[in-house]
């Protein structure tokens, strides 16, 4: 059943509505609830297909679901509708205003209502899809402060990689941080690239979510085997930034092992064809982020490498 969980009047004859599709199982009610949220950034669309697939399969198999799955396909509906990363008109990143406040601005009120609605769930899965510049392998990102508690659940989601990253004050305004610090376990998924749906990744995550539901005792239907993720753990992440401006042309595949000094790609002057930078790997490891958008300035992120590993120690 679809319900509007947060709303506010827009100027002319319309209301912004944040909707939740609540799917209640017909199996034994075990009181459990999982929330799947996406569309916080309007240009990140991978989660749309995941939501659609989860909703379709569950609706066709209600007898195999115990408890409740809540699907929030668009926390920033105006952004998704207009391909705008932030909240249109406000030029505001919605993932920097949580937990919001009931007596704040419209965006802050909506954020507070979202937190209120999700709070108390057993698990919340917050699906992002990078941006238009970078392609990400399906991965879970966990703040080191919550790592111990979240890691067992993250492993159930069948992603390729779990990145336990350091804490940063600025990230305290995110949905995941706000929920995790108030007792609702929240996993952030990053995968694919902005403004696209990557069917392979979406299906991989969908299978992982059903695996999680099964492990929580909420799903008795079929599940597919899920991948055993690489966990960053003590392994460092190295950033490769462009040292020149121009167009970046990669010569490696995404999610491959690479040796220190190996060629990643070239930055070229588009007018003359001159090689501005021969980009090489600063370390051995595995590329889990790779630039998708070709134009680069000095500093543009080209790749992230998980340092070391069994074959690259």
């Amino acid at each position: 059943m679809t319900t509007v969980i947060a709303s506010a009047g827009l100027a002319v004859n319309e209301r912004i509505e944040i909707r939740r599709n609540r799917i209640t199982g017909e199996g034994e009610n075990n009181g459990k609830r999982v929330c799947i949220v996406t569309g916080t950034h309007g240009d990140e669309l991978e989660g749309q297909y995941v939501c659609a697939e989860i909703a379709r399969v569950l609706s066709e198999n209600l007898s195999k679901l115990c408890g409740v799955v809540d699907i929030y396909p668009a926390l920033n509906p105006l952004g998704v509708d207009s391909i705008t990363r932030g909240i249109p008109l406000f030029d505001l990143d919605m993932n920097r205003i949580f937990p919001g406040t009931a007596d704040g601005t419209m965006a802050e009120c909506l954020a507070a209502d979202i937190i209120k609605d999700i709070s108390g769930a057993d698990i919340c899965i917050d699906i992002h899809s990078s941006n238009i510049y970078l392609k990400e392998i399906p991965q879970i990102r966990i703040n080191e402060l919550s790592a111990e508690e979240l890691l067992p659940y993250a492993k159930m989601l069948g992603c390729d990689f779990i990145w336990i990253h350091s804490s940063a004050t600025v990230l305290e305004s995110t949905l995941a941080y706000s929920l995790n610090t108030t007792g609702t376990k929240t996993l952030v998924v990053e995968m694919g690239v902005g403004m696209r749906i990557t069917r392979e990744y979406c299906r991989q995550l969908t299978a992982g979510i059903f695996n999680l539901l099964k492990n929580l005792g909420m799903w008795s239907g079929a599940t597919e085997p899920v991948r055993d993720p690489i966990v960053s753990g003590e392994r460092a992440v190295e950033f490769v930034n462009s040292g020149a401006d121009g167009i970046f042309v990669p010569c490696v595949e995404h999610w491959v092992d690479i040796e220190k000094g190996e060629h990643i790609g070239d930055v070229l002057d588009p007018a003359t064809g001159r090689l501005e930078e021969y980009v090489t790997a600063p370390c051995s490891g595995r590329i889990f982020t790779l630039r998708e958008f070709p134009i680069v300035y000095g500093g543009s992120l080209i790749a992230r490498i998980l340092v070391g590993g069994e074959d690259n120690a």
Binding site: V12, D103, M106, Y133, T169, E172, S173, N241, G299
Partner: protein, 308 residues
């Protein structure tokens, strides 16, 4: 005056962007003033340009105190200004959310790092800042509370109001916050415009910064005393939200003194023209901020009132 390129970045398709500083006097790094970091901060750049003009005159008159160096950076992000974009041209990131910066990081982190290295070490830092909320407000000075800068220093700007803001997590990557972490006493000066030039409030800001420099012994020139400053905790402002969406017709302006029960505005149905709501003053006070767009959303902040 010495003109200096503080940081430069290349684009494959444009002339290099050269962030330029204007230095006056020499010796101890006394004060640095930074203008537009976003492409729509035209007023902030204009205020700085007027300060450069005034300081050239003062330098010719020998009015810059011996052993004091002043630097003004009118415009950091003119790449975005030249194409009518608010944030960074390519990835839409905000330079004022990238401090202290990182020289091996992403483009705007590198710009922030390159700029911050040049503007560190000054005793005082003033940022010409802009509001993200659309509206008119009284010119004022603001301090981000970090415990480093004395609230009373704001009195020397001679503006009627000075605000103290308790930083939120997203404030910790701003220039103002990081200046203070690196031991520069930092203030933000707000005038009543961003993407257009408001001469009157620009003059107020220029006079306020000149007054501050005189009172801090950086320059010598005749200035008016300015206003008696009331220091206000930003959390004490009374915010009035719109109960419904529509067309807002305001009856008051910033600076107006209001009595409890006064009519502040009417909200009109945008299709039928009927008044659907009237908003009255909840307290006696001064209008500090009013929303200035004709269309407003439910829960928009329409007014901020300083209670008296």
């Amino acid at each position: 005056m010495r003109k200096q390129v503080l940081y430069s970045i290349r684009s494959p398709y444009r002339q290099p962007m050269e962030v330029t500083g204007f230095k006056f006097g020499s010796g101890e790094k006394a004060i640095c003033i930074v203008g537009a970091m976003r492409g729509n901060e035209i007023q902030q750049m204009y205020v700085c340009s007027q300060l450069v003009k005034r300081l050239k005159e003062l330098e010719r008159e020998g009015s810059i105190c011996s052993g004091k160096e002043i630097m003004i950076v009118p415009c950091v992000n003119y790449y975005s200004m030249n194409i009518g974009k608010r944030f960074w041209t390519m990835d839409n990131t905000d330079i004022n959310r990238m401090f202290p910066g990182y020289d091996l990081g992403e483009t705007t982190q590198r710009i922030a790092d390159g700029l911050f290295k040049e503007i560190q070490g000054y005793a005082y830092g003033v940022q010409m800042a802009s509001f993200y909320q659309q509206g008119d407000f009284l010119p004022h000075v603001k301090l981000m509370e970090t415990g480093f800068t004395d609230h009373k220093d704001m009195i020397d700007f001679g503006l009627p109001y000075a605000f103290v803001r308790t930083p939120r997590p997203y404030d910790t990557t701003t220039l103002n916050y990081n200046w203070q972490v690196w031991e520069t006493k930092a203030f933000s000066v707000y005038t009543n415009a961003t993407d257009h030039i408001d001469e009157a409030s620009a003059k107020i800001a220029v006079d306020a910064v000149i007054r501050f420099m005189v009172k801090r012994g950086i320059i010598t020139t005749k200035v008016t005393g300015g206003s008696v400053t009331e220091i206000v905790d930003e959390r004490g402002l009374i915010q009035i939200h719109s109960p419904c969406a529509g067309i807002c017709k305001s009856h008051v302006r910033p600076g107006d003194e209001i009595r409890k029960g006064d009519l502040l505005c009417e909200i009109i149905d945008p299709l039928e023209g009927e008044v659907i709501s009237r908003i009255f003053a909840p307290v006696n006070g001064i209008v500090f901020f009013n929303y200035n767009r004709p269309l407003e959303f439910e829960k928009s902040v329409l007014y901020k009132i300083i209670s008296i």
